[in-house]
Subunit: 159 residues, 2 copies
Amino acid sequence: MNQLAGKVNEELLDYQALRLQELIGEMLQCCEDRKFYETEKFGLPYAELKCLLLFGGERYLTVKGIARKLDVVKSRVTKIVNGLIKKGLVKQIDDPGDARIKLISLTPAGQGKSREIAAFQRELHRQILLRLDADERKGILSYLELLRSAMEAVKEQLV
Amino acid sequence: MNQLAGKVNEELLDYQALRLQELIGEMLQCCEDRKFYETEKFGLPYAELKCLLLFGGERYLTVKGIARKLDVVKSRVTKIVNGLIKKGLVKQIDDPGDARIKLISLTPAGQGKSREIAAFQRELHRQILLRLDADERKGILSYLELLRSAMEAVKEQLV
DNA sequence: GCTAATTGGTTCATACTATGAATAAATTTA
DNA sequence: TAAATTTATTCATAGTATGAACCAATTAGC
């Protein structure tokens, strides 16, 4: 390892870091725009939209459970759920076994909306993949996995 | 192309779309966490932090120019800049050639902070790359570029 | 069985991100 | 010079999010 090679390598790394930063920034912006599009399309604040999507497998969710899944505080969930109730997409009943607990479930309208949103998001990602050939798809997925792991590792070491 | 192969392909695509969605979601979350970390570390709301970073090449920026760069409305910029002025990171002077325009520039403290933040972000991205070998770095960058383009293309066709 | 601790949920104050309408002041155009 | 345009600010509004204080119900311990 001579000195020159080391320096060139450093410069390459700096250049690559900058490019990585830009690419991630652009992807982030794209996702931001998509969020905005979805709130318009489905007429829901994004937090409520995400909440609807949580009723995938489960029939009933609690405030606490939603808070865990959305990674927000309970009082935030109260707010979100109230919004969804006002829009008739979700309803609350008292847990027959424990009067503290409110069981939250989708109304038929909420089920429809939830399915609609999920289908839209699936389709978007399908569209992205359709712009690539089979090898590119495989490559993107495996390299993205690599990147995601590296990002999370760096994040861990940060905290 | 027989029917079976087509069906298998469709299923593969659906599976890949789901995986893509998950990976992007995890990367997004990671970036969210990083934002939060930075606001804590630098003691600034993220919008103000981003604003500081805009004074890279330019010596002076206007409210209008910042609004364009941050892609927000002018009144939002007024708010952000006021926050930065209160913290002594930025100062405003009247444009000698046009009294409508306020020229905004970094104070020495703001310059220091701005450099600090930029250096931190560069280092983060360098750390990510350092967890990968040379081939993986190249692969990630070119596949990310591919993905970003596909995402933007899909976004365009959406609007 | 009854107190004490815990759990589940709501309310309220606060902070941040962001928009858009209304407005004021300065400048440009006709 | 009057009208139109440009630059920036203020204010009302909406959304995201936290955390403290609180109430009610349940569970643990004695």
